[in-house]
Amino acid sequence: MLKRVARTVVTTAGLLLLWQAVVMLSAAPPFILPPPLTVAVALVDNMALLSRHAVVTVAEILLGFFIGCALGLLSALTMLRFGVARRWLLPLLVVSQALPVFAVAPLLMLWLGYGMTSKVVMAVLIIYFPVTAAAYDGLRRTRAEWLDLAAVMGAGEMAVLRRIRLPAALPSIASGARIAAAVAPIGAVVGEWVGAGAGLGYLMLHAVGRMTADLMFAALAVLAALAVAFYFLVDVLFRRALHWQEDAVNPGKLAEQKPT
C-alpha cells in the first residue's frame, strides 16, 4: 500500500516536472499553456466556483452510471429469460453501438433541453451497451453442472438466478461496470460541451473562450481527479465482492479472507 502511494507520488511529480519543462522550453504564453503553479493557484482561487460546477458533473456521472448499469443488467436478464427479447434486442444493441453516440448529443439537447437530463441520458447511452453485453455474457455462461445440481436439489427459477446465475456472472458484470465507470465522465462532459449552463465541461469551454487557460486546466484537473477516484471506488467495491475469485495476476494476494 505504502509502495503504491510512493509510486503514485513519484509519477505525479515526474509529470508535473515534465509539464514545467515544456512550458519553459517552448516559452508558450500562459493563455496557451499555463505552468503548473499558475494552475494550482487558479485551482485554489476558484475553489468555490469549481466545486459548484463539479457537483453538477458528479451528479450527472453518478446518475448516468447507476441508471445505465441498472438498465444494462435488466436488459441482460430479460434477454436471458425471454428468447423473443434476445432476438429483438440484440440486433438493436449492436446498431445502437454502431451509431456514434456523440453525434446524437445535439439531438439530446434539442429534445431534453440544456439541463442535467440530456447529460445523464448521454452517459446512460454510452454505458448501456458494454454493461448489457458483459452482463448477458456472464449470465449466459453459468456452468451447466451448477445448474444441474440446482435442478436435482429442487431449486426454483428465481433461486437459481439469485443464488447461482448472478453470483457466477458477477466477474463479468464487474468488467462491464468498470468500463461504465471509466466512460460515464466522457458522456457527461461531452453532453456539457454541446450545450449546458453548468458543469465542469461547461466551465472548461467557458474558460477557453475567455482565454483563462489556467481555469480551464484547473477544471480539467478536478475532472480528472474525480473520474479516477470514481473508477477506483467502483473497482475496489467489486474487488471486495469478488474476494472469492482467484486472482490470476496476483495469486495469493487476496487469498485469506475473513470469515463471513
Partner: protein
C-alpha cells in the same frame, strides 16, 4: 416428547429398457437394472463407459438426448425431489464458504438451514475446522468430502454417488466410506466406481458395465457389506473382476 415419525422406507428403483442416445451416438441401449430399496447398488466399469450417463439419466439431467425406456420407483411415486446427486467433479460454488456449500440445498429451496446438521456432517467428514474456508483453498480430496457432506445433508431417499471417493487417499477413503455407509443406512444408493475393491466392499448388489452401447451384468456377491477385504473370496472376486474389466469380456 412426541416420537418423530418413522422415515418413509426408501424405494427400490426399476430401470427397464433404458436407452440414451446423443445424436447418432448410442451410449446406453435397453438397459435393465434393479436398485433394491434401502440398499447399496454398485455400478462398476471402466472410465468413459456410460456410467455417468446412466446416473444422469436417473437424475433427469440428460439434456438434449434421445431417451427410451422407463425409470420408476417401486412405491409408484415420482422420483423428482427424492434424489441427491453427487457428481464426479465436486461442483462447489466458489463464492460460498464450505458450510454454506453444504447447506446449499436448503438455501436453494428457501428453507431454513439446519445448522446442527451442517455441524455434524462437517465433523463427520473431518472438515469442522475448514467451515469458513472458500472452495479454492481446499485440496481435491477436501472438496470431495465437502461435496459428500452436501449430498448427505440433502437426506434423500435415493442417493446417486458418481465416484464419490476417487480423490481421497486410502486412509481417508476407508474412513469416509464407513461414514457414508452409516449415514446412508436405509437409503437407496447407487454408487458408481471403477474400483473393484470399493464395489465389492460396499455393495449389496453389483453390476458390471461394459461395451458400447453399454450393457450391464449382475454379479453375485457373498455376504453383506461392508465386506472384509482380507477375505480370500473377496480377494479372488476382485482379481477376477479386474481381469474382466481389463479384457473387456463382460458379456
Amino acid at each position: 416428547m412426541t416420537p418423530s415419525p418413522a422415515p418413509a422406507p426408501s424405494p427400490g428403483i426399476r430401470l427397464r429398457g433404458v436407452g440414451v442416445r446423443y445424436g447418432g451416438d448410442t451410449v446406453l441401449a435397453s438397459l435393465n437394472m434393479d436398485l433394491p430399496g434401502g440398499r447399496w447398488t454398485c455400478l462398476l466399469g471402466a472410465s468413459g463407459g456410460g456410467k455417468t450417463t446412466l446416473v444422469r439419466r436417473i437424475a433427469g439431467l440428460t439434456h438434449g438426448a434421445a431417451l427410451s425406456g422407463g425409470i420408476d420407483a417401486d412405491d409408484n411415486a415420482a422420483l423428482g425431489g427424492r434424489i441427491a446427486y453427487m457428481a464426479q467433479s465436486h461442483m462447489l460454488l466458489p463464492w460460498l464458504s464450505v458450510e454454506d456449500n453444504v447447506a446449499l440445498g436448503s438455501r436453494l429451496r428457501g428453507e431454513a438451514v439446519q445448522r446442527n446438521r451442517v455441524d455434524a456432517l462437517l465433523g463427520g467428514v473431518g472438515l469442522a475446522g475448514e467451515r469458513n474456508k472458500l472452495p479454492r483453498t481446499l485440496s481435491g480430496g477436501m472438496g470431495q468430502r465437502v461435496a459428500l457432506a452436501r449430498t448427505l445433508y440433502e437426506n434423500r431417499a435415493l442417493n446417486l454417488l458418481d465416484e464419490p471417493f476417487s480423490k481421497l487417499d486410502a486412509i481417508t477413503r476407508h474412513r469416509i466410506q464407513n461414514l457414508a455407509l452409516q449415514l446412508l443406512r436405509g437409503k437407496t444408493v447407487l454408487l458408481v466406481t471403477h474400483d473393484p475393491l470399493e464395489a465389492i466392499r460396499l455393495g449389496h448388489r453389483l453390476y458390471v458395465m461394459a461395451g458400447r452401447p453399454a450393457r450391464v451384468r449382475e454379479l453375485q456377491l457373498p455376504g453383506l457389506p461392508p465386506r472384509d477385504l482380507g477375505d480370500a473370496g473377496v480377494a479372488k472376486l476382485s482379481q477376477q473382476l479386474l481381469e474382466e474389466l481389463a479384457g473387456g469380456r463382460t458379456c
